[in-house]
Amino acid sequence: MRDVSAEAVTKTVRDLCIEANTRLPESHLRALRRALDDEESPLGREVLARLLENADIARERCVAFCQDTGYAVFFVEMGSEVRVTDGEIGAAIDEGVRQGYEEGYLRKSIVRSPIDRINTGDNTPAIVYYDLVPGEDLKLTMLVKGAGCDNMSALKMLTPAEGLPAMKEFVVETIEKAGPNASPPVTVGVGIGGPFEKAAQLAKKALTRPSGEPNPDPALAELERELLGAINATGIGPAGYGGTQTALAVHVESFPTHIAAFPVAVNLDCHSHRTASIKL
């Protein structure tokens, strides 16, 4: 059994919050540069060039790329041979978020209730999903999730008879409805299968994959390519001003489901696609 102190978890989370918010992932920057090369609309190219310039400024000055520094979402892979000592992991993650958002000059965007809307003041609670895995690693993956694009996300319980064609249609329709509001070019996370909540969670986790890395399953990889083509044919373009680059990547994750079900969830991430990962 390997020990990791709660203090080490807190420090790691603090650093991840600042890194994810100020340094866009290299795979996402490559996708933005490729989009700049491929975009046909002059106004669309202008938007992409500005996004890349903004990424340089954010990294150089260690300031947030986008003012909406989001929900702090964590996917934790907890090895069966590792334990957190001197504290509880959930509390340690929240403390890291508290420190990272304060010290990193990041906006505190979380309210304690959708009804009374009082700000918690420190961007906690973090949204944490745990996976128990074999081994002695403790892996933390952070996704900074802005609300503008999360608000445009959608889930549908399709029937098996409607099947794959309806699934494709629903993904493209979600992008069409979101239009400029999701701040394109977007990264599209799609979750299919499981019961209701599993599809949504898969869609969110799909966003943490390095941009454009295909699903290892060739059939799903082909589906990703097809969906990307259909989305980029909508014409929405960068910032929604019209253009050929509406999405940078589509990541599909699949899970077993019920004989009566075909759930599909689409989680959108805006051009400020922020994710970072570390093993403790």
Binding site: E40, S41, P42, L43, G44, E46, V47, R50, L51, E53, N54, I57, A58, R61, V63, A64, F65, C66, Q67, D68, T69, Y105, L106, R107, K108, S109, R117, N119, G148, N151, G179, P180, N181, S183, G229, A230, A233, T234, G235, I236, G237, A239, G240, Y241, G242, G243, T244, C270, H271, S272
Partner: protein, 188 residues
């Protein structure tokens, strides 16, 4: 569509906004007032109670943003636009009182666009993921109302060459729908 920028100084007059057309690239200088969800709800409440607004909207431009905290030495933290449709229920109240411009991102409702055309107001788009760049154009920032709302307080910004694009002009033009139609392709 990529034209030379048009330079405008706030407050804006009808003469300033009448020539603007959807797709025009504009650089704004002068004062912008920040306001988003919570500040708009409070302004609506003030209007309903017959109280004075924190600023007179006549000729002014509202910027839908909730900035991140500023690092020492900066006037303002990163401050890109937020989704404007959430302000749709409130915007006509300010437009009727002379508001000449709004800066945000995303589609506006038919009711807001109608009010803009009736009373003379233009909707400008800024790019959300250029928050650090946009903050560079902000030379001064001062909280004028609702300080308790934190990032959602109303601030008076003084900006220089703040880059925006005309989304909705006074003549029914809409960059989002026109842009999408122009670049839409059919897939096999």
């Amino acid at each position: 569509m990529s034209k030379e920028p048009i330079y405008l100084e706030t407050p804006l007059s009808m003469d300033d906004i009448e020539p603007l057309k959807t797709g025009d690239v504009v650089r704004l200088s002068g004062a912008l007032y920040t306001a988003r969800d919570a500040a708009h709800a409070r302004m609506k409440e003030a209007i309903e109670k017959g109280e004075r607004l924190p600023f007179d909207p006549d000729g002014q431009v509202v910027y839908f943003t909730g900035p991140a905290p500023a690092r020492p030495g900066h006037a303002l933290g990163p401050a890109g636009p937020t989704t404007a449709s959430r302000m749709d229920p409130y915007s006509p109240l300010l437009i009727e009182r002379g508001l000449r411009g709004m800066v945000g991102k995303g589609v506006r409702s038919g009711a807001v666009i109608k009010s803009m055309r009736e009373h003379g107001c233009v909707y400008f788009g800024a790019v959300e993921g250029t928050a650090a760049l946009l903050a560079d154009c902000v030379k001064e920032a001062e909280i004028v109302a609702y300080e308790d709302l934190g990032a959602e307080a109303i601030q008076r910004l003084v900006v220089e060459d703040f880059p925006v694009v005309v989304v909705n002009d006074l003549y029914g033009g809409d960059l989002y729908s026109e842009g999408r139609e122009r670049w839409r392709r059919s897939v096999g």
